[in-house]
């Protein structure tokens, strides 16, 4: 399983128990208790997870980009009046699903036995959300609409008439701002209204299927489709009704039959066959009939889907026309001025959130009120976020800004981590001396004293003092970027390069997740639709250093390149260190491209598929929440994992250093055995052994190196950076060794957790092995090359 970000969230662990309704299928009666099961659905990136967190108090990690939630998350709310189980399902644009996470959403809505569904819509693009809402209303009888981001809409001068929506849709509608705390009450009230009225009208305690017992459900048409489609459905309905037996909406099922989505029909077949005896023969017959109907009416599955989607969009547009208004008195230019004229500064204007109700009454190019070239007017007309976007994705500055941002983050991390690191080191040194004395006073045997203090305490102290400060700075900074919405821009900027490698731009998003944890990055690859491109993204994910490897890189750089003696860091040297780190990361990214291209040309041949990515608007990050979450979710979790993994490894090293075979210690024997392998790479046997022992968690590689060296008896006490450097130098290190360690750390085998995840995602030993070979071969090559060039010079 994943380690950081949303994958460490409690919700995901729960979500893994009852996915896809497997558990529910076996014992349908048991689940039905007092708790009402509510699904939270909606388009991607409209704030479902934020609302979910707000409602349940669960800390599912949220981010401002599409595809953050990749599997259902479950959370509970227990109130005085009623209890709810909220299920946060992946964002989806429609229920005509195609990607894996969209199928999860659809299947849950169809077969998840939910009591009600809460559809979250973005007030600034309500129309698109409404298409989904209409589709969900066709399946789920009890639906509530939450119009989220009301504050953002207001800022954009978009006003949503909730009452008009309520009248049109005939469902409860609430307007919320999920990022603020006021939403919980509103949602609960809405749910009361939604579920309360039903209990009085149709209560069937025996029936676990809420779908069946509601008047709104099956047969009332939510939308009227094209006459030809309605006709086909009318002739299918009498046949379908006995089959679905009120367990699924008949109209919806007819539509699916006509659409002929085989995977869905199979699922439906299973679902319906579960209780009632439904022979696959009947289903086949009906399918055959629907096909012939389709043919007679002159539809192909494509034109049928088109027509359906068009009807949905049209209906959504109609509703919006009445419910969404724009205040034009404030800034009329913002809404109407769209100029295609080359020299006109207004051509950059974006009419964000323009709905189709405006399509008819806006004159797009007749901006007579604003003469071309009026700079003061035009600069006011361009929304600031649009201007930021242009800057971030501009031809000249797009890439340099990305690199600069990376550099700034690293610089802040290195500078900020230096002092606390020193402080912690001296603190732990003091504690260790006390512990040693305490152990002596207790009269513990010397070997036990050694084991406890040098073997275990020192490892833990080292890890905490070296890893905690950089992580506690880097992750919050990175989470802030995520929260603002910069990540999709990275994917947008880099997509061209990925296209050249015949892979998908969304790989940039998975790489960004890999910065946190490669296992989470590998899981995140589910957002990529094409299986070939997903595999490429999975195999190359470990070229991005995860948080386990960052401290190694940072420590190496600060030990050997900036000589951080005495803790006083000069601006120049810290910048240099940040530059070094950035270069290593860029090398990793370059390698990702190289290997993506290589894989596309060899093992995973194929053409690039499509790339459709939403660029969400920039949102103001909730600094406090982000800091807290990233500290708890990522930093402490990763740290505790490192400590846990380090304990047995530390023990192992200590034992190896103190067990003797003949004259030599076991440690020296192993190191000596590996030495010939490591030398050509510019490493030594001990380092290579540390990397091997570090397989469970990359975090412990450097501590293991120190322990191996000090286990040989040169270090009596844990000391500052200067002493560490001395130890390394007495063991034959110089700056080239440090670079080799960095290179090898950047590119070697993925950690055990990542490997397990890769195996789970690909279900293949072959690809898992390749995911080891790819970075390892790159690492060996780079190290040998570097050693050959730099190692020869004395």
């Amino acid at each position: 399983m994943g380690l950081s970000g949303n994958s460490t969230g409690f919700g995901v662990w729960k979500a893994n128990l009852p996915t896809k309704g497997n558990r529910k299928r076996k014992k349908p009666q048991k689940i039905q208790t007092v708790e009402k099961r509510i699904a939270i659905a909606g388009n991607p990136n409209v704030g479902k997870s934020t609302l979910f967190n707000e409602l349940t108090g669960l800390h599912q990690h949220t981010g401002n980009w599409t595809g953050k939630t990749i599997s259902n998350a479950w959370g509970y709310y227990r109130g005085n009046a009623s209890s709810y189980v909220f299920v946060d399902i992946p964002g989806t644009y429609s229920l005509l699903a195609h990607s894996a996470e969209e199928a999860v959403a659809r299947n849950f809505l169809c077969f998840g036995k939910i009591d009600a569904c809460m559809v979250v819509c973005d007030a600034t693009c309500l129309e698109r959300g409404l298409s989904l809402l209409l589709q969900i209303m066709e399946i789920v009888p009890k639906v509530m609409l939450c119009v989220n981001l009301m504050d953002e809409a207001e800022r954009k001068h978009i006003y949503v008439e909730l009452n008009a929506l309520r009248e049109k849709l005939e469902i409860p509608v609430i307007g919320i701002t999920a990022r603020k705390r006021d939403c919980r009450e509103l949602v609960l009230q809405g749910l009361e209204e939604l579920l309360g009225e039903n209990e009085s009208s149709a209560s069937k305690p025996e029936n676990s299927q809420s779908v069946s017992s509601t008047p709104t459900g099956s047969d009332t048409a939510v939308i009227t489709y094209a006459p030809a489609i309605e006709k086909m459905m009318a002739s299918l309905l009498p046949l379908v009704r006995p089959i679905v037996n009120h367990r699924l909406p008949a109209r919806w099922f007819c539509l699916q039959l006509l659409l002929g989505d085989t995977s869905l029909l199979e699922e439906t077949g299973h679902y319906l066959a579960e209780n009632k005896s439904l022979s696959s023969q009947t289903l086949k017959e009906i399918k055959h009939m629907s096909d012939s109907l389709l043919q007679a009416a002159g539809f192909t599955s494509e034109t049928l889907a088109d027509s359906i989607v068009f009807s949905l969009a049209d209906r959504a547009a109609q509703i919006c026309q009445d419910a969404v208004s724009r205040n034009r008195s404030n800034n009329s230019l913002k809404d109407t001025a769209i100029c295609g004229h080359e020299t006109c500064p207004l051509r950059n204007t974006c009419s964000c959130g323009q709905s189709s109700s405006l399509r008819k009454n806006t004159v797009p190019y007749g901006h007579s009120a604003s003469p071309c070239g009026n700079a003061s007017l035009s600069s006011r007309a361009i929304p600031p976020e649009q201007r930021i976007d242009r800057l971030l994705t501009s031809r000249l500055l797009g890439y340099p800004l990305m690199a600069l941002l990376l550099l700034v983050i690293f610089w802040l991390t290195i500078v900020g981590a230096n002092y606390p690191s020193q402080l912690l080191t001296s603190l732990f040194a003091w504690v260790e001396s006390r512990l040693a004395r305490g152990a002596e006073a207790l009269g513990l045997a010397p070997w036990l004293r050694e084991l406890l203090v040098s073997g275990i305490f020192r490892t833990v102290a080292w890890i905490v003092s070296v890893m905690l400060p950089p992580m506690a700075i880097f992750f919050p900074l990175f989470s802030l970027l995520e929260d603002v919405g910069y990540l999709p821009r990275i994917a947008y900027n880099l997509d061209y390069c990925f296209k050249k490698c015949r892979s998908c731009g969304k790989q940039a998003l998975t790489m960004a997740m890999g910065f946190g944890c490669n296992a989470a990055g590998v899981m995140g690859c589910r957002i990529i639709d094409s299986p070939r491109e997903r595999l490429i993204a999975i195999l190359t994910n470990s070229f991005v250093p995860c948080n386990g490897r960052f401290p190694t890189l940072i420590a190496m750089i600060s030990l050997f390149f900036i000589g951080g003696a005495g803790g006083a860091l000069e601006l120049g040297s810290s910048l240099l260190a940040a530059c070094c780190l950035t270069c290593f990361i860029l090398l990793g990214i370059l390698m990702t491209f190289l290997f993506s291209g290589l894989l596309s040309a060899t093992a995973l041949r194929g053409l690039p598929s499509s790339f459709v990515l939403e660029l969400p608007p920039f949102r103001k990050p909730r600094v406090g929440q982000v800091l807290l979450r990233s500290l708890i979710d990522r930093t402490l979790f990763v740290l505790s994992r490192a400590v846990l993994a380090a304990l047995p490894a530390g023990l192992c090293i200590w034992l190896m250093a103190n067990l003797h075979l003949g004259k030599e210690s076991l440690l020296n024997l192993c190191a000596g055995f590996l030495d010939p392998l490591a030398r050509p790479l510019g490493l030594d046997g001990t380092i290579l052994m540390a990397f091997l022992l570090g397989l469970p968690a990359n975090e412990i590689v450097l501590p293991l190196v120190f322990m191996a060296y000090s286990g040989a008896g040169s270090l009596q006490e844990l000391a500052g950076f200067e002493t560490m450097k001395e130890i390394l130098i007495t063991h034959g290190w110089d700056w080239t060794t440090a670079v080799s360690v960095c290179l090898f750390s950047l590119m070697h085998w993925p950690c055990a957790t990542t490997l397990l995840t890769i195996h789970k995602e690909t279900r293949s030993v072959k690809w898992t092995l390749l995911s080891i070979l790819a970075p390892l071969s790159a690492g060996i090559l780079c190290c040998m090359l570097f050693h050959a060039v730099a190692g020869r010079q004395p």
Binding site: L96, S351, L613
Partner: protein, 84 residues
Amino acid sequence: MSSNDTERLHPKHSLWDLQSGETGIVERLECLGSLRRRLLDVGFVTGARVQCVGKSPHGDPKAFLVRGAVIALRSEDGKKILLE
């Protein structure tokens, strides 16, 4: 300078021909399968008004404003969306 509306609205063939700031109306999609569905989902429906709002550094994925959201598309995909 200020040419008439119809001419400004109709000179382009595909979505990809739109430059930053220009607007067009979708006529049909020249693709099948999953891409078609994906495009329909995000709002490239017949009759939808689309505005090009920017280019990536290489000029290849371009960003389009459709139904209130900004969607990035590659040239291959953008060329399959024909405008009125």
